[in-house]
Structures are given as structure tokens and as C-alpha cells.
Symmetry: C2
Subunit: 486 residues, 2 copies
């Protein structure tokens, strides 16, 4: 079995040079142009002594320059460490050192933080990378080579670098294609960070499928709604919070070209899914993580209504199991285990963590879910978010979903807080649409949830803590609760 | 890098059980049903002592039973030897022994020939395979395992068994998807033999993409035209002869659902391509062979008009080169070399042939072609068909293309025949649409071709010798010529 394949960007630029590769604001780039620009950066890096096998940090924004830099890393054969631009200098240095990075390349907008880092390792401003001559670009990628490294948010302990190989990204793109389909008329909207797997995987699909990525520097609901209404994008990756904002700032459906919202980043509240169904906005709910190089399960288009709330079945090359006490059975909750050629080859330099996470070829996600009698996956929660109260399991997402059903609530986050009697009790953080009494919310919950699941506290806030992918940070809520000593 | 993936049919039956897998005449089968039927055959084979690793001959017709049998071989883990039903008993026995087959399974229609074979090895009529209990079906396919063996027509010497692995078929399907696109609304029309790679690969795409195969027992232009006019198929695999018959028996274009004709099996005469362009029938010209598990290069949709006559560029995972004397250059003719994960791992038990065919990772196709300045491949001819006349190379396809341009000619085949003066001269075999003088044809050719390329003989015949895929057998023409001692 061959494990080499043609250098992706070079091959794409050879096969369909004139197709649009990238759309950003009012400009477009062809694949030939992106390749030309990436080759220049590669030449400049090569000249500075970097070469295949080096690990190089990227501190980027969602810009055309970032697209070119990511490709340049692949052209050089370097493993790119995709850095989260919301981190502090200290956190960044920790990751760069952990990954034994040779250097960090940064967007001029991050000059300030780069100055704090450059005492620790060479930092290169991206605009300085202009090559005078074309380097010898490698002809092939080896599917076993590490293409990218992304540190997981790490709900407990220090972050771990997830190694994603070229093979991981390739199989991820192929698995997605055989579920969602692929057409040369597609255009994937990317307003999620390129440094997260959600954004990075869009860029990989773009080059493998030969379709454009429509890049947005940041998520803006009015801008995106205009794009979707005009039919200028066919698929978009969202999380519940961004989808909700899109819904609130528009009415009706989108242009007929629009194939659907790929909704990831955690269990989706049902009210949002129901509203999309009513408005004729297709939603493909998906389950995936950095360790699976994007989707591992996605609801097929034909089940998007009948299996509302499910993350679907595994992609064609993938498998999943539920590790439930006493064995697997429909509706029995347990840890979600996954397997497939898109699953990471392991955490960088974390022998112990790898031993724990990979057992018999199955990756232990730490997330909780069940499958129904037909094998559809329902993700209940991230294990680390699980609230255990008086021996009963409470999944924050379920409580949040109920709160969001209340007309006065536009955002809700639930976390477990310490309680002498029950060990933990749920606390709810609420963003109001209109003023509402605490008693009213309490009654509303009690009418829909078992008593032990009802929040013991309702805290009204202006906004909820989210990471760069707009994923709710429930742990932050707990810290905030404890800081404010309720 | 993982090389295992879920058992294809089982996974597909799990993921989308209710989708249509197969359409034949007025009946349809879901993926769940095909899996159920395949499992029964697997159980019956298992009971008879067959198991993983066995090689089993299949002597089939294009029927639903054949689809189920092909899948049963995969479920069992046996390598299927796909037998050409046009061969004699002696030729079949030779292939079965060469492949060390454990048995042959045959369609009841082939009972006569099976009787002549059963003295040599166990022969099982397919209808006898009804399992009483479900066997333990393997969970995964290993991409390195040999899935199918197909003997190449062998223009010279004894046929060779081409080993096609699961990986070969997987990458072939993926490469095709990233060029032609894939949609759950697709339906691939298969009137080419399932025992040839052209038909077998449609079946593999069907299960990997989750789309139906519309199977026809034999090619009938009126039947297929009706299907295409009604929009009941979206893609169809054809060769020049069948496409020509489709064009002659209908007018105008097809239903808007129809995405295109995948035209393989040798260089296509330009008049046919031009007629398709005029009538708005999309054609994707392709180049491939048994050894590349179907397509290795295919013209992308956007170039189907501007690069008329080209077989396009390699599929995304593939590469090609022209081995021309004095090095590669645009328009320079030479042997076509190919590389990719869909290329066979080698001929069965043919060490010498493998050494010759694979040099430095490149497979030597024996075919002649050139690439233009943009890298588009133009296939001139199969090397074995090359006519060398007075030191000049003559490619039969070029001469045929000219003859087909004449309004009185509906089929043309050109071959080289022995000539004392020139070594070889071209001889043309003609099927007339309306009576035409030999002198008229000679003048027509002389006006369009260099003198040495003009046929020395024009032989009028009722039809041309073709194999089961409708590929012209030029060698037969030569034999016929010599037999008739012109």
C-alpha cells in the first residue's frame, strides 16, 4: 500500500490552476496564485535554514496570509503548531517549548505578544517572508508525517499537543465527502479560527476537493447572513452560539445554493435545531474534536429532521462504540470511543496520556453519549462538564437546552458548583433577552426537569465565557461562581 | 497510519440502510437488503469450508445475483477472480489454475461451460448458495488485502492476473469523487460488464458513496436512451462504440439530472466528442486500465470543451509521466507511466513481468501519449497497436478518427498488416452507413492524412470484433486480414 501522494497544493495548482481557492472580503485568489505565494514563503524559510521535520509555531489571524503560511509549512515539510491567539505569552511559550518549536511566525497584529516571546525563541514577522527564488518543492507528501499540531484546550491539567498527520487530514476530508457530498460548485464559509481544527479542516478540504474557502476574519452575523442570502457560500461550519446569532439577525431561509450548516462544538440545544427546521435551513449536526481531525460522526442529510438532536453515525471510514457499564446497549450512557484513520496518531511526547487514551486501537474521548436502536449517536456532554449531584448524573447541556426554551433567555450556561449536602449542584448563568424573575425561571425548569437537575442558582450576566471557536467554557463559569463566593 | 477500515458493505448497510443500492429492470434493493443477501451467500460458502484468503472464480452475468456474489466474496475475505464470460472453457481453466482458485461459482446461464470445467476444480451454481445462519462477518477490511483479480486481455503472450487490493479500489473511488464530485442524488448506470474493472469499479463507488448502481444485463441503446431521457441516471460509463450507438438512436440532449458520460476504453474519435458537445451531452474523457483499478486520468468538467480529445490530468492522488526519448517535453510522444495508490500491487505470480512493469515506483502502461504545455494527457494508442511503416509511427486511432468523419462510415477499425516494402501498412475495416466507393474513401483520407498514414486496404465488413467492454480488438482484424489472405 502506497502511503505517499502528490503534494496537495502543488497537485491542485497543477490540476485546476484557474479555479478560485480563496475568497476574502472583495478579493479572490486562484489555486495557482496561492501556490505561487506559498512557494515564496517556503523559499524564504528555506533560506533562513528551516527544513523538513522542523516544528514551527504559527500565530495567525483568519487572513489570506495565514492560508498561505499554512500551505508554506506543508511545502517545506514542517509541522505547523497552530497557536491560539487568545492565549497569554506565558501559555504560548509553554506550548512552543513543549513542542520543541524551532521558531514562531506571527501576524503583524500580534507584534506585541511576539515581543514578549522572542527572548525564548526566534520570532519572524510573516511579512518578512518574501523569497527571491523558488525552492525545490517536494513532489510528495507522506501520509505518516505530522502535518499540524494543535494543543487541546485541556479542561484539566496542562494542554497536550495533538499530532495530526497528512493521512489524518486526508481521510477526514474523504470521510466528510462521502457523507455530505462534494461538488466543484461548493464554497465553504470559514469564520471559525484557522488555528482550530474546525477552520484548518476547511482549508484542507478546499485544496483536496478543489473548491474555494470563503474566509472571514471574524464572525459577524450580518455579514454572513448577507453572504448566505446571496448564495455565495454552500456550506458553513458553526457552533450553537454562532448559529443562534445568525438566526436572531435574519428571517426565513437562505439562498437555494446553501446546502447546510455543519454544526459542531458540543451538543446543540433543541430549540435552535427546531427553528432551523421550521425556517428551512439544513443543519448537519456533527461530533468531532481536535483528536479526530474534525468530524468523526455527522448526521446524514436525510436524517436531519427525523433524528433531530443526534450527531448521526460515524463517517464511512470511522467507527464508534459506547463504553457503558455492563456492556453496550441502545440508550445506555457511557464514554464515547472512536476509531478511524482520521484519529490522531497520539499526543506529542505524552507517553502516559497516550497509553490512557488509546486502548486496543480505540480512542477514549472522555465524552458521554449513547446510541439509539439504529446506531445514531446522541452526545450528552463532555465528561469533564458532568455534574454529579447526590449520585445522580446531570448533563449541563440538557439544562441549558430547557433554559433556552424560555422566551426571555437568549444564552444559558450551566455548571456544577460545590455543595455540602449533594456534593455538587447545578448553577445557571443567564443572558436575558427581556427581564425575567428568578422564580419564573425556577418554575419553568421544575416543570420540565427532574428536581435534582434544576439549577440551585440563577446568575444573570451580560455574556458567557467562550473560546475562540465560540464554545462555551463551563469551567470558567465555575471559577467565576467560586470567585464571586455565592 | 491505520490501514484497516470498516467492512464496506456492512458499514454502508449500517449508515444508510434504506437508501437504494441497486436498480435492475423494475426492481430495487436497499443496502440493507443487499447486505442481508450477501451475508446468506457468505454463510453458505463458509459452511462449505471456504474462508478468508481463498481465491474463488466468479463466472457471472450483469445481474443482481452477481452484485450479491461480489459482495459475498468481500464479506468472506476471499479474493474474487472475475472471469470473462466470453472465454472458452480451456481459457477459463487456464486462468483459474494460474490463480490457484479453490472453486468457481457460476451463474445458471453458464451451466454448459461449467460442466466442462468441473473436472478441473469444484464448480458451484450460485443458486445453491443459501445460508441457514448468519456467519460471523468480519468487522474490518485491510487495505492491503487482495480484493479482486482480473486477467488482462493480453495482446501478446498469456494473460496475467492483475491483483487489486481494497486500498486500490478505495483510492480509485476517492480520486474519482474529488474530480467528478459525488452527491447522494447520484445514480451510476452500469451496462459494462461487472467482471471488467469498468463495471466492478461502479459497484465499489456505489457502496463507498452510498449511491445506487443501475445495472443493465447488456447494453441496449434504446433502453439506455429512455433511462437517460427520463433522468433516471446521473453518470454512465461508456466506450466510444456504445456512445456512438446511443447518439445514433436518439436526438438532442438528455434530462438535466444527467451529469455526464465517463468515456474510457481507448482514444475517442473526435467526431463523436464534437457531436456530444453540439448536443449538450457532457463527456468526461478518461484514461485507465485494469492495472489502475479504473480511471487514472480524467478530464475535469470545466475542460471538457476546451480540451476536447484529451484524457485530462491525473486524479488527485495520482501522477503520470511520459517516457520520451531525450526527456519529457510538451507534445513529445512516449510511453505513459503512472503512479498512485490505485495502481495494482502487481501481477499474480509474475515476478518477471512485475520487474519490467514497475520501475522506481512507476507503472509502465505500454500505451503511447503526450502531454500538452498545461499537462493535459492525450492518449495516442495502445503500444501493441502501433503500426510502424517505413520507420514512421502510425496510430490506428488517428486514422479511424478520420474515417469516422466520412458521412458514409459508421464504424472503422485500422490495423497494421505485413508488407514486403514497408514492413507494415495500415489496413482499414469499414462498416458502411450507406454505400461508398473505395476510391472515395482513399481520396478522403489522402486529403486529411500524411500519405504513409493512409490505409493501403479498405475492407468492408458487417461489424467489427470487440471484447465484452466493446473495446475494438485490432489484433483480431489483423488475424482476419491474414486469414483471408488479401
Amino acid at each position: 500500500m502506497a502511503t505517499g501522494m502528490p503534494n496537495w497544493l502543488k497537485q491542485r495548482a497543477f490540476l485546476t490552476p484557474e479555479r478560485t481557492a480563496l475568497i476574502f472580503e472583495n478579493r479572490t485568489w486562484t489555486f495557482a496564485k496561492v501556490y505561487e505565494e506559498a512557494a515564496k514563503r517556503t523559499a524564504a524559510l528555506y533560506k533562513r535554514g528551516f527544513s523538513k521535520g522542523d516544528r514551527i509555531g504559527l500565530l495567525i489571524r483568519n487572513t489570506p496570509e495565514a492560508v498561505v503560511l499554512i500551505h508554506a509549512m506543508q511545502q517545506l515539510g514542517a509541522s505547523a503548531i497552530l497557536l491560539n491567539s487568545r492565549l497569554t505569552a506565558g501559555e504560548l511559550v509553554w506550548q512552543l517549548k513543549d513542542a520543541e518549536a524551532a521558531a514562531m511566525i506571527y501576524d503583524p497584529a500580534h507584534e506585541g505578544i511576539a515581543k514578549d516571546i522572542q527572548a525564548e525563541l526566534p520570532c519572524i514577522e510573516s511579512v518578512q517572508l518574501s523569497g527571491e527564488e523558488m525552492p525545490v518543492i517536494r513532489e510528495e507528501f507522506s501520509l505518516e508525517d505530522t502535518c499540524s499540531i494543535m494543543y487541546t484546550s485541556g479542561t484539566t491539567g496542562k494542554p497536550k499537543g495533538v499530532r495530526q498527520t497528512y493521512g489524518n487530514h486526508w481521510w477526514s476530508a474523504a470521510g466528510s465527502a462521502f457523507n455530505l457530498g462534494v461538488s466543484e460548485r461548493d464554497c465553504w464559509i470559514c469564520s471559525v479560527p484557522l488555528f482550530h481544527i474546525s477552520g484548518y479542516s476547511i482549508l484542507m478540504r478546499s485544496v483536496i476537493y478543489g473548491v474555494p474557502i470563503r474566509l472571514h476574519e471574524r464572525f459577524n452575523e450580518d455579514e454572513i447572513n448577507a453572504v448566505l442570502k446571496q448564495g455565495e457560500g454552500t456550506i458553513m461550519s458553526v457552533v450553537a452560539a454562532t448559529l443562534s446569532r445568525l438566526l436572531r439577525s435574519s428571517e426565513g431561509s437562505y439562498h437555494e445554493n446553501f446546502r447546510g450548516m455543519l454544526l459542531g462544538g458540543g451538543p446543540a440545544p433543541k430549540p435552535i435545531l427546531e427553528e432551523c427546521a421550521e425556517r428551512g435551513i439544513p443543519v448537519f449536526q456533527t461530533y468531532g474534536m481536535t483528536e479526530t481531525s474534525s468530524q468523526i460522526a455527522t448526521l446524514s442529510p436525510e436524517y436531519s429532521l427525523t433524528k433531530l438532536g443526534s450527531a448521526g453515525k460515524p463517517l464511512f471510514p470511522c467507527q464508534l462504540r459506547i463504553a457503558a457499564e455492563g456492556g453496550e446497549a441502545p440508550y445506555k450512557e457511557g464514554e464515547i470511543l472512536v476509531k478511524g484513520p482520521n484519529v490522531t496518531v497520539g499526543y506529542l511526547n505524552r507517553e502516559e496520556a497516550n497509553k490512557e487514551a488509546f486502548v486496543g486501537g480505540w480512542f477514549h474521548t472522555g465524552d458521554i453519549g449513547y446510541v439509539d436502536e439504529e446506531g445514531f449517536l446522541f452526545v450528552l456532554d463532555r465528561r469533564s462538564d458532568l455534574i454529579i449531584s447526590g449520585g445522580e448524573n446531570i448533563y449541563p447541556a440538557e439544562v441549558e437546552s430547557v433554559l433556552l426554551d424560555h422566551p426571555a433567555v437568549i444564552e444559558a450556561g450551566v455548571t456544577g458548583v460545590t455543595n455540602e449536602k449533594w456534593g455538587q449542584v447545578p448553577a445557571a448563568f443567564i443572558v436575558e433577552k427581556e427581564p425575567v424573575e428568578e422564580e419564573e425561571l425556577r418554575r419553568f425548569c421544575q416543570s420540565r426537569l427532574a428536581k435534582y437537575k434544576c439549577p440551585a442558582y440563577f446568575i444573570k450576566v451580560e455574556g458567557l465565557p467562550r473560546n475562540a471557536s465560540n464554545k462555551l467554557l463551563r469551567r470558567e463559569l465555575r471559577n467565576q461562581f467560586e470567585r464571586d463566593t455565592f
